[in-house]
């Protein structure tokens, strides 16, 4: 596979008042790679994701998308969404929310078929008209994933999105992401505490630690390192 960079972090550092979260982080992520981002709670995984999403301004260094910022479309799936049992929208409507822009209020035929296609790919077709408030945890996560995918991103960030799922649903969801990763060359950043899952699905890892960062091929994320990293 030719390596085409999609995201570059150069000498990246974020410091909150009197508290450096991480410093001098250099990382190049190529198209089609599947990275796991691991580390103990509080080492800055979410801060790093927010910096990549340009929601936080880095204190040092920079985040750049390649070849141009406009060429990278990011899909983001968080662990939690503010959706209670009374939430009224159907899964289909929820997925379609991501189709924004200065357009007519109603979805075009092309947009409707994009929603339909992604519902099919994520296995949500049969329950597409069910209010998402009445869906199970796994179905909701799939709907969040489908919403992130409906705009055909080329970089997908799973921010502990599988943390609250049972092992079967977790595997189902990650199998699906892996399939898209292979089929569409979708680049994936998988933020997780689940080392076996990280080893099963990703090709590279980035470990954030209070004393610095470490990165490499996923085979290098040994159990030994996990022990050293304590409860990563």
């Amino acid at each position: 596979m030719t390596e085409t960079p999609i995201l570059k972090l150069e000498h990246l550092g974020v410091t909150f008042p009197n508290h450096p979260v991480f410093t001098d982080l250099n990382l190049t992520i190529n198209q089609g790679e599947f990275w796991s981002i691991v580390g103990k709670n509080g080492v800055g995984k979410t801060t790093l994701m927010r910096t990549i999403l340009h929601q936080l301004r880095p204190t040092h260094g920079r985040v750049s998308y390649w070849p141009n910022a406009g060429d990278v479309r990011i899909g983001y799936v968080p662990q939690f969404r503010n959706i209670d049992a009374d939430y009224p929208l159907t899964i289909r409507d929820f997925v379609g929310l991501n189709l924004t822009g200065w357009k007519w209020p109603w979805l075009s035929r092309k947009e409707k078929s994009a929603v339909q296609q992604i519902l099919g790919e994520t296995g949500l077709e049969k329950i597409a008209n069910r209010p998402i408030g009445q869906a199970s945890g796994g179905e909701r996560q799939k709907a969040y994933l489908a919403q992130a995918l409906v705009e055909a991103p080329n970089l997908l960030i799973l921010d502990e999105s599988t943390a609250s799922l049972d092992p079967v649903t977790k595997t189902e969801l990650l199998d699906l992401v892996q399939e898209l990763n292979t089929k569409l060359q979708l680049t994936v950043l998988f933020v997780t505490h689940d080392i076996p899952m990280a080893r099963k699905y990703s090709s590279q890892y980035l470990m954030l630690m209070p004393e610095g960062t470490e990165q490499g091929q996923i085979a290098g994320l040994t159990q030994q390192k996990v022990w050293e990293g304590e409860n990563v």
Partner: protein, 265 residues
């Protein structure tokens, strides 16, 4: 009933109000802004009282106060954990100011009552026209920002991640809400305006599961409430706001009961 001009005006105004409240209400409910809507209606009372004191039309005073304060409220309550406390403080301040302005304006209690509880008799053809223009402005803005507003209202996390200008959207929505409150207060009064801005949409969400579907149902429920309220008020001579409040509340309780039955099955 329609042989009286004031009743024709009241029905025209009521129809405009029901449409605007049905549409705005869906976003009010999705954004959990019922309490803030209540506060804006109190600010509307204060603005109307100020209008009377300054010798303006009450609607213009309402517009000034609600629009300016909606921006301030939006800034103060950007952090959700202090939203309720900040809103309560502002609400208290504006009710106090409303009472002060009414007292300074030397108007009698019946005038205050008509601002607070609405009046069908006082609506002129000119008022209807002004309400129509304001409502069209609100609808036009919603039409233009619809997809962004829908995303931010129904999935704030997703909208923020996408990099939508959620703060600007929030303030724009508050200004639209302020305009809607001022328009709708003409009939149901500033104290009860939140009924039409919250209850029909809160009811609709139990029966419709698309944004468009909720809007259509909320408009229909608001229309039934306003038309039936006006008719019953004409026949019985009791206040229109009582009937509208009672009808909308009954719809809402029926929806809650229906939802309970659904989940029990």
């Amino acid at each position: 009933m329609f042989s009286y001009e004031f009743m024709r005006n009241a029905f025209a105004a009521g129809t405009i109000i029901a449409i605007i409240c049905g549409i705005m209400g869906v976003f009010v409910i999705a954004r959990n802004m019922s309490f803030l809507t209540h506060t804006l209606s109190e600010i509307g009372f204060s603005g109307a009282a100020f209008g009377v004191f300054a010798g303006w039309a009450p609607l213009n005073g309402m517009l000034l106060f609600t629009v300016v304060s909606s921006v301030i409220v939006g800034q103060l309550s950007a952090r959700s954990e202090r939203r309720e406390a900040a809103t309560s403080a502002i609400s208290a301040l504006f009710i106090g100011l409303g009472i002060l302005f009414l007292s300074l304006a030397n108007k009698n209690a019946s005038y205050a009552t008509s601002i607070l509880f609405g009046s069908v008799i006082g609506i002129s053809a000119g008022d209807v026209q002004q309400m129509l223009w304001l409502s069209l402005l609100v609808l036009l803005v919603i039409f233009v920002i619809y997809r962004f507003l829908k995303f931010d209202s129904f999935d704030h996390t997703g909208a923020r991640v996408k990099g939508l200008w959620t703060n600007a959207l929030s303030i724009t929505f508050l200004v639209l809400l302020a305009l809607s409150v001022s328009v709708a207060a003409q009939i149901v009064g500033s104290l009860l305006i939140f009924i039409l801005l919250t209850l029909p949409a809160a009811t609709a969400k139990y029966f419709a599961h698309t944004v468009g579907g909720m809007m259509v149902l909320a408009i229909a429920l608001a229309l039934v409430g306003v038309w039936a309220g006006l008719t019953l008020s004409y026949v019985t001579n009791y206040p229109v706001s009582f009937f509208i409040a009672a009808i909308e509340a009954i719809f809402y309780f029926i929806a809650l009961g229906w939802q309970k039955l659904q989940t029990a099955e």
